[in-house]
Every structure is written in structure tokens, then in C-alpha cells.
């Protein structure tokens, strides 16, 4: 029995060392592509040579980084993403749970959900700009939609897939309805919720950037678009990479929280 234990420990170490090798490989790959990209830009290779060289981007960045405009773009986009995302969870989690646990709510809600869900969030932009009093609210709303459906559907799936035997044994052990909700239904649904949140976070960034390009005068999406209009090509690249980093930070936060919330899934 302790042998099994040791085994899983050494597997953990193996996992870590693989992670280290992967990490260094990743660094090497990034450096190599930067060098290739610089070279391509200098000798004007077709297509890829049209992109501003890393040196030009770095030059641009060194001045942009000291402007309030750049950091404000970060802040504004983050604010939109997180407001929309958090609202989507606050409303989506109870809706998903209600639909999952009550046949009546499922019958009522599911058709509506299935009609609204295929509409891409961006198709909501014109309508929401008209409906909401401020552009900020319409941006947040569109972002909200991006995460809302994913959360509801994942929770719904999670609740309906709960093994009936968990609920049955809990009942036999004397658990009340309240206990069954908090100690069985909720933790059993948590992994699906985490999956939903990871996917939803990805969608909100896609949505917010596109929406900012169409209907906003601020944020990382707008920064990228404006640089294109102004012909400031290095800043386009900075905008794109910033969006990538912002998305990565956001999904890392979700992954971290998910791992904390579901400790029993990490160790297998």
C-alpha cells in the first residue's frame, strides 16, 4: 500500500521534470521564431516579411509602454471581460442549477436557450448598442452573453450527469434536501462548472476584442484597430500580443481557481 503511495509521488516528480523540459523547449521555440521573424522582415520575405520586425515592435513598445493610453486599454478590456464574465456566472450558475434540478424549469428554459444560443454574441452588438444607455454597458452585455450560455449548458450537463447512487446513498445516510444540494449536487457539478468557465473565459476575450473594434473607442481591440486605421503597424502587433497575454493571464486565473476548487481531480 505504501508502495503505491511512493509510486504516485515519483510520478509527480516525473511530471514536474517533464514540465521543466517542456518549459525550456517552449522558450527556445519562442526565441527561434523571433529570430526568424526579424530575419524575414529585414530581407522582405513575401507575406511574413510585411509584418513589422520584432526590433521595430520593441522600439514602438518602449515608448507606448509609458503612455496612459496603452495601460488604460488593458484596464478597460479587463474590466469589460471580468464584469461580463462575473455577471454570466452570477446569473448563469443559478439558472443552470435550477434547470438541472427542476424538470419544470428545464422545460420552460431549454427552448429559449436553444434558440438564443446559436446567435453569435457579435450579432448582438447592434441591438445592444441601441438598448443599453452607455457603450460600456453594451460591451459588458455582449461579453456576458459569450460566457453565459457556456456556463448554463455546462452546469445543466453536470447536474444531469450526477450519478443517482450518490444522491441515493446520501438520502440513506440521512441527508436533508439542503445537505444534498450543498454536499452532493454542488461539488458533483463543480468540475463541469470549471470546464464551462475556462471555455467561457476564452470566448469573452474573443467577443470583447471584436466588439471593441466594431463599437467602442477604447480597449485593446480598439487600440489594435485604430493603429491599423492610422497605419501604425508595429502597434497592431503590440495590440495583438497584448490581447494574447491578457487572455492567457485570464485563463490562468480561472485554471488556478478551478484547481483550488476541485482538489480531488488533480491527483490521479
Amino acid at each position: 500500500m505504501s508502495g503505491r503511495n511512493k509510486n504516485s509521488n515519483s510520478l509527480g516528480k516525473l511530471g514536474k521534470s517533464i514540465f521543466n523540459i517542456s518549459f525550456y523547449r517552449g522558450v527556445v521555440a519562442i526565441i527561434a521564431s523571433l529570430i526568424f521573424w526579424e530575419f524575414a522582415a529585414r530581407v522582405h520575405l513575401p507575406v511574413i516579411g510585411m509584418i513589422p520586425a520584432p526590433s521595430a515592435v520593441a522600439g514602438s513598445l518602449s515608448s507606448l509602454i509609458f503612455t496612459g493610453y496603452y495601460w488604460e486599454s488593458w484596464y478597460v478590456s479587463f474590466e469589460r471581460v471580468f464584469s461580463g464574465f462575473v455577471m454570466a456566472q452570477i446569473i448563469g450558475i443559478p439558472v443552470g442549477l435550477l434547470m438541472g434540478m427542476s424538470r419544470k424549469f428545464r422545460d420552460l428554459g431549454f427552448p429559449i436557450l436553444e434558440v438564443l444560443r446559436p446567435i453569435p454574441p457579435l450579432a448582438w452588438v447592434p441591438a445592444s448598442v441601441i438598448f443599453w444607455p452607455t457603450p460600456q454597458m453594451s460591451m459588458v452585455f455582449v461579453t456576458f452573453l459569450g460566457a453565459f450560455f457556456t456556463t448554463v449548458l455546462n452546469i445543466l450537463g453536470g447536474v444531469s450527469n450526477i450519478d443517482i447512487r450518490y444522491i441515493r446513498s446520501a438520502r440513506s445516510f440521512g441527508a436533508s434536501n439542503k445537505d444534498i444540494f450543498w454536499r452532493i449536487v454542488l461539488p458533483a457539478t463543480l468540475p463541469s462548472l470549471c470546464t464551462g468557465m475556462t471555455v467561457g473565459m476564452g470566448i469573452t476575450w474573443e467577443v470583447v476584442v471584436a466588439a471593441e473594434m466594431i463599437a467602442s473607442r477604447s480597449g485593446l481591440g480598439f487600440l489594435t484597430w485604430r493603429s491599423y486605421v492610422a497605419g501604425d503597424y508595429p502597434v497592431i502587433v503590440i495590440g495583438m500580443i497584448s490581447i494574447g497575454i491578457a487572455g492567457y493571464i485570464s485563463s490562468s486565473i480561472i485554471r488556478l481557481l478551478s484547481g483550488r476548487a476541485t482538489p480531488w481531480l488533480k491527483i490521479i
Binding site: D163, S172, T262, I268
Partner: protein, 289 residues
């Protein structure tokens, strides 16, 4: 362990009187259990044996109160069974430990839900039971970190700590390898002989059935009825060495004769798939005979 729960060796008499159960709608409706009667005697281990698909899990679900009977009655110590209750606990066919709880949290779930005792006391009881089945060092592990045999032992303990009047085990050792299975039978029989809680043990393995049983209930094929009840008067504590005793072999021979008869009956009256199922379930046993 103290018996602070509902049970003690003198209670836990369950009377199952001509119960029936069907599944499906309209033309697909089929009777799974028909007029099935047997009794669980207090402090005795009753083994229910029958081929897979004959309705053993269904019977457990009915006894546990998870599903409703159509006709007949089920009572425990004179009171009719209505819905699930802590007096009848089930160890399911596959592990049903809550994956999001540690071993300790799983085992103490029942006592915590019933309330009335402080958690240090409960954990003390849990730990001594876990130690008894060799799981003392694993109290803070999650179920997925345990082997199949360890999960089964944990589940035994999770039920036992509540001192139910009746414990129902639905093919609990199925799917374990032969060595682990034998070890589990040993843990199980020791716990039973020590606590003497009324037990219903479901299996499709004849050797396991006779080794464990005070009373053997042999099921017919669908719709399931009780075919025969055999009293197994082997001495307790049971030892694996009894598997070669003359009495044991006689019981086995008698049981196999009945099971073979059932297979033949299914052959002459049943549908093709039903016969195939039945023969598959017993071909191995027939060969040994």
C-alpha cells in the same frame, strides 16, 4: 465500536412478501420481479444468488426504498418500509464513495448528517474502523487515490459506522482480481462475525455465496422469483479451509443442481437471449462440476 446507531444484533428482521416490479412502458413493459418472498433473519447473513440480469439489483433498490414495489410488502422489524432510511444501508455494485470527499469525510458522512455527536468522537470511531480494515493511513486521501479493493473496504466502513439494522451488499467484490477478492471476503466475513448486523449479500458466484452465507436464496431467471432457500450450517468463524470440507462440497453440489435445472427451464421456455445469458452465467460453474 459502540452501537450508537439504530442497530443491534437482535433487530433487523426484514420480511419480503410476494413483491413484484416491472420496468418499461406499453408493449415494452416487462416483469422483472414476480411474487418474490424471503426473510432476512436478525444477525444472519443471507446471500442472494442468481444470474446477471435476473433482478438482484432491482431487489436491493426495492428493499432500500429507492424504488417502489408494485405489489406485496416489505417490512423491517414489523414496520413497513417507506423510502430510503438509515436503518438499511447499501454498498453498491461499483464504488459510490463521494469523489470530492476524503476518505475520512466519506466515512463520517452518515454520523455527521444524523448529528448529535461531536466530530472528534465521530472521527475517533471512523479511524478505529478504518484501521481495522487497514486504511488508517489513508484517511486524508481522495477515493480516486485508492485501489479498487481499498475503495470497497472504505465503503464497508462507511456503512458499518452507522450501525444500520440491515446492510445490503450488491455484488461488492465483482471486478476485483481473485487475490483481492479473497482478501475482501476475509475482511467482510470478519466484520460481519464481529458486528452481527443483519446482512443481505448479492452475488453471482456460487463459491463466494456458500462461503459467506447462513442462508442461501437462489433466484430463478426472469421474472425473478425465489427458486429455493438453503440453510448453510457451516460453523463460524468461517475459514477458507472449509472450502474443501465435505459439507461445503455437498452444499455446492445441491446448489448447482438447482441452478442447472433453472438453466434448463430457461432453455425450454425462455427467449433466445435470456437462455444465452443464463448459460453464460453458469457455464463456468457447470464445467467445474
Amino acid at each position: 465500536m459502540e452501537t450508537k446507531g439504530n442497530g443491534n444484533a437482535a433487530s433487523g428482521r426484514m420480511v419480503i412478501d410476494s413483491i413484484s416490479k416491472s420496468y418499461g412502458m406499453g408493449p415494452l413493459r416487462q416483469k422483472v420481479i414476480q411474487d418474490c418472498s424471503f426473510t432476512l433473519e436478525p444477525g444472519k447473513l443471507t446471500v442472494l444468488i442468481g444470474p446477471s440480469g435476473c433482478g438482484k439489483t432491482t431487489i436491493i433498490n426495492l428493499l432500500a426504498g429507492y424504488e417502489e414495489i408494485e405489489t406485496g410488502s416489505i417490512s423491517i422489524d414489523g414496520k413497513p418500509v417507506k423510502g430510503p432510511g438509515g436503518d438499511r444501508l447499501v454498498v453498491f455494485q461499483e464504488t459510490a464513495l463521494f469523489p470530492w470527499m476524503t476518505l475520512m469525510q466519506n466515512v463520517t458522512f452518515g454520523p455527521r448528517m444524523r448529528g448529535g455527536r461531536n466530530s472528534r468522537e465521530i472521527e475517533g470511531d471512523a479511524l478505529s474502523l478504518l484501521q481495522k480494515v487497514g486504511l488508517g493511513d489513508f484517511r486524508d486521501k481522495y477515493p480516486t487515490q485508492l485501489s479498487g479493493g481499498m475503495q470497497r473496504r472504505a465503503e464497508l466502513v462507511r456503512a458499518l459506522i452507522n450501525s444500520p439494522r440491515v446492510m445490503m451488499m450488491d455484488e461488492p467484490f465483482r471486478g476485483l482480481d481473485a487475490m483481492t477478492r479473497e482478501l475482501m471476503q476475509e475482511y467482510y466475513i470478519r466484520l460481519f462475525e464481529e458486528h452481527r448486523i443483519t446482512n443481505l449479500f448479492v452475488t453471482s458466484e456460487i463459491e463466494e455465496a456458500i462461503f459467506l452465507a447462513d442462508r442461501l436464496v437462489i433466484m430463478s431467471y426472469r421474472p425473478a422469483q425465489v427458486r429455493t432457500v438453503m440453510e448453510i450450517n457451516l460453523p463460524r468463524p468461517r475459514e477458507f479451509s472449509m472450502l474443501t470440507s465435505k459439507e461445503y462440497l455437498q452444499y455446492k453440489k445441491d446448489a448447482l443442481e438447482i441452478l442447472h435445472e433453472e438453466a434448463m427451464k430457461a432453455f425450454s421456455t425462455g427467449t433466445a437471449t435470456c437462455v444465452a445469458d443464463f448459460l453464460e452465467a453458469y457455464s463456468e460453474i457447470e464445467e467445474k462440476k
